[in-house]
Symmetry: C2
DNA sequence: CTAGCATTGTGAAACATTTCACAAAAACGG
DNA sequence: CCGTTTTTGTGAAATGTTTCACAATGCTAG
């Protein structure tokens, strides 16, 4: 498959959300114009984005909603379930565990780790918080697809290294640090400070 | 000021973080090469990014660390403090209130709102959670610079509209919805589902 | 069955961002 | 003081992304 821009993938995800709404309302077909309108883009962009993956529409009619939902789910890899390990049982970790959208989209948290003795052994959403020292023991043969790192910046790289050794191929990183991993491992960093600072920049240099 | 790409601003924010580390270590000057290395980019990119805002380096030597820190803080609007209202006292809101980096970078949460009667009146980090019905009463004359929206998607747009009327010019939005606001209001959306889905896409279509 | 209409799919053009490559400047060693 | 080395700042080239514009297609109505 030829390389598709990350911006395209992000829009695909937005289209999917809109399409799911349309589907719930029983709408059968939708035009690129309608998909663009609520998604903050243009109809040409929608058609171009979809055309990277195939021809899903009918000229004169638009796109069939249920079929396009199925296609987009397959493209985004959301037609399967993922086994997720959560590293760091702090406030954000806690919010994530309880976030419905997580499980809804196929991501099952199957293990939770922390260093804090006060947290280790506690029950969390049906899972026992384990000592991060036992990461290797617990995750070998656990068939983990993805790890969510919610730790202080200082330990994030060391943990990423251990996860890579364990064969984890995707990391969602909330630590405010650029992780370095091999090419075959995907990392996505959510950096709140970064968002705040770009907001601050735009506020300062508005218009 | 000519328009500068958002990607440039995000890198500036990363450079600032690295520079603060260098400063703490007492390093006096740094080359574009050194700044790029840990920031995941190239030296040419670093120089180009900085050149949008001025000439801060000395040829043959590099950039003076403390001066560049000061400059970047000014560029990003981090040389002042912001008064922030938090709308939504749930799990994520709670994590944000306690996030050190928030206050550290100049963002002071000065008001918290929720709809839940069980939460209204409770003390949160020295602030009383107020009824969101009283948003207008509480925020008129409160000189709010920024609002953080942590609410269900269904009510986010209505709240954004009310914030706009109150004169708020920047919104950090955690609701998984595209907010529509006037041109002079800046919105930055942090959408966890989006991040998960791009991660899922890359995992599925790896290599 | 045909005309008219709506809407897709897609090359080409326009625009944006990154990378290249090198002259200019500054420091340093001798 | 001069040659060598380092590293910036920046036009120009290369690459990447979005927008344009229109032929192709299929639907609908008569």
């Amino acid at each position: 498959m030829r390389k598709v821009a990350e911006s395209t993938i992000r829009r695909l995800s937005l289209y999917l959300r809109l399409l799911e709404e349309f589907e719930a309302q029983g709408i059968a077909t939708v035009s690129s114009e309608a998909l663009a309108g609520r998604g903050g883009t243009t109809s040409a962009q929608v058609r171009k984005d979809l055309s990277f993956f195939g021809s899903f529409g009918k000229r004169g009619l638009g796109y069939p909603v249920p079929e396009l939902v199925t296609e987009l789910r397959a493209i985004l890899g959301l037609d399967r379930r993922y086994r997720v390990a959560l590293i760091g049982a702090g406030k954000i970790g806690s919010a994530l565990v309880q976030y419905r959208g997580f499980r809804q989209r196929g991501f099952d948290i199957v293990a939770i780790f922390d260093v804090d003795p006060a947290k280790i052994g506690r029950q969390w959403n049906g899972l026992v918080v384990q000592d991060v020292a036992r990461l290797e023991a617990a995750l070998t043969d656990a068939r983990i697809d993805m790890a969510v790192l919610v730790t202080p910046a200082e330990v994030a790289q060391a943990l990423a290294d251990r996860l890579v050794v364990l064969g984890v191929k995707a990391i969602l990183n909330f630590a405010p640090i650029q992780l370095s991993v091999p090419d075959d491992v995907v990392v996505k960093t959510v950096n709140l400070a970064l968002e705040l600072e770009t907001l601050s920049y735009e506020l300062t240099n508005r218009q």
